[in-house]
Symmetry: C2
Subunit: 305 residues, 2 copies
Amino acid sequence: MRARPLCVVSVDAVVEGTHFRLDDGSATPAEVGARALGAALSDLAAMGASAGEAYLALGLPPQLSEGDALALVSGAQALAHAGGAIIAGGDVVRSPILSLSVTVVGWAEHERELVGRDGARAGDLVGVTGALGGAGAALAAREARAADAAGAANSAGDSPALERAPLPTPRLAEGRALAALGVHAMIDLSDGLATDAAHIARASDVRLRLELERLPLGERVAETCRALERDPYELAASAGEDYELCFCAPSELREAAEAAVAEAGATRVTWIGEVLDAAPNGAGVSLFAGNRSEVRLDGFEHSWQ
Amino acid sequence: MRARPLCVVSVDAVVEGTHFRLDDGSATPAEVGARALGAALSDLAAMGASAGEAYLALGLPPQLSEGDALALVSGAQALAHAGGAIIAGGDVVRSPILSLSVTVVGWAEHERELVGRDGARAGDLVGVTGALGGAGAALAAREARAADAAGAANSAGDSPALERAPLPTPRLAEGRALAALGVHAMIDLSDGLATDAAHIARASDVRLRLELERLPLGERVAETCRALERDPYELAASAGEDYELCFCAPSELREAAEAAVAEAGATRVTWIGEVLDAAPNGAGVSLFAGNRSEVRLDGFEHSWQ
């Protein structure tokens, strides 16, 4: 196809058994296609690029029906259409298990349209788009139900918990608007806020101080967590697959960033913290909860420092 | 990265158990990496594009050692380097089986530098680069040895057969030179000459008449086939993974095409047939052997018509 001056590329692979299961009804083929494409497009959104062409490499097991294979591609197609991308090709091969690898190409006219992870500076505000924890709460509820079914004592099985993770909505227009405005650093939330914010911190050699209770919770995350007896803010900070954007902007861009995101689409900015010098604790992320001191999330320390 | 005006993309996926086996010693991790990248680059070669960036999506099973995973990437890296491509990114995920999906981006300055499959015309000569049948003969010898080991009566186990398929050498410089010269149609031989030539025939609505005994046989293909009691030319016409180029050129380009390929690299052109009108038999491929009438290869009819 005819190229534009700058090309960026993102690759996301998902494999049955590692990233999703079809056999327990927790994912449909259409969702598998949509999630894989959503993850790759979200990465382009965080760079401020426009989505271009997507290429699918599909490994199909013999027991997957043709209808399911078509549903998977349709799921990817629907998400591509919503994001302005076109599925331009790929490869289909036989495989013992279902796998899908998505490569998306994004474009920009000028380097100044794009943003990386390494420009955050002390004094910047930290913002996120949308709401967090939806996919994580659905996963936690599913795991609790599975534990119930296995005979463990847990009341979550009867709770009004989230049934399914919301589908990703890559924030492409928001990402382009924020990048064009000149935010200093941006990343998409695929692995969870604590992990992904630490990528910005390390790349920029700064510390991000985030206020847990400022995190915007997704729909029904609070009630699901109540039923599961979990802290919803800790879940929202640690769970993955939100596919929202986290960015660092100088404080004078506060109103402009809010306006740009509001104009771009169907979501808004929430300011969740600030950027500090890396010293004395080194580059990383610090989470604070209200008047309490620093919060440590189990299993996440390794990615913060 | 900074783009050039025209962008073409090729995707190739390979999956353990479908495309290769590591457990019987028939492929090493380095070969798996090299073959997957070679297949994708070969497709760019057939378009006349220059190789740009390659992206690897790697599904790694727990039992694969870190050394084997690195060897796989090194195998791909070596082939990328030889073809002028750079491995620019990708994704690594856990998977029950080893899988590798390669997306390569190719570039061109002008549309006239590129060639498709749909321009072949009656009167064109049909040429191929390099030699055919090497990968197919190695596969046939391996299958015969496996049958021997299973107790079948077959003398091929003691024959001086090809031990391993040669690694692909994508004909990138040759493809660019032929496309620049103005050949009418081109394809790379991944699935086998009979199958791939039929893609040109159908896209161009012509019939390709190929002379079996003019096919250039790869090193040791003839002796391997003798030991296996197979016709080497039929094997060379039907077996895949040669990754040579097949092209259709007007007869006035004969010497220029030979010179362009000779200058471009380490191989030469062999003329193997001619392009006829599709009527009376429809678009497709006809194979002729010496004075004998038309040859039908078992299992290949479906792809010819």
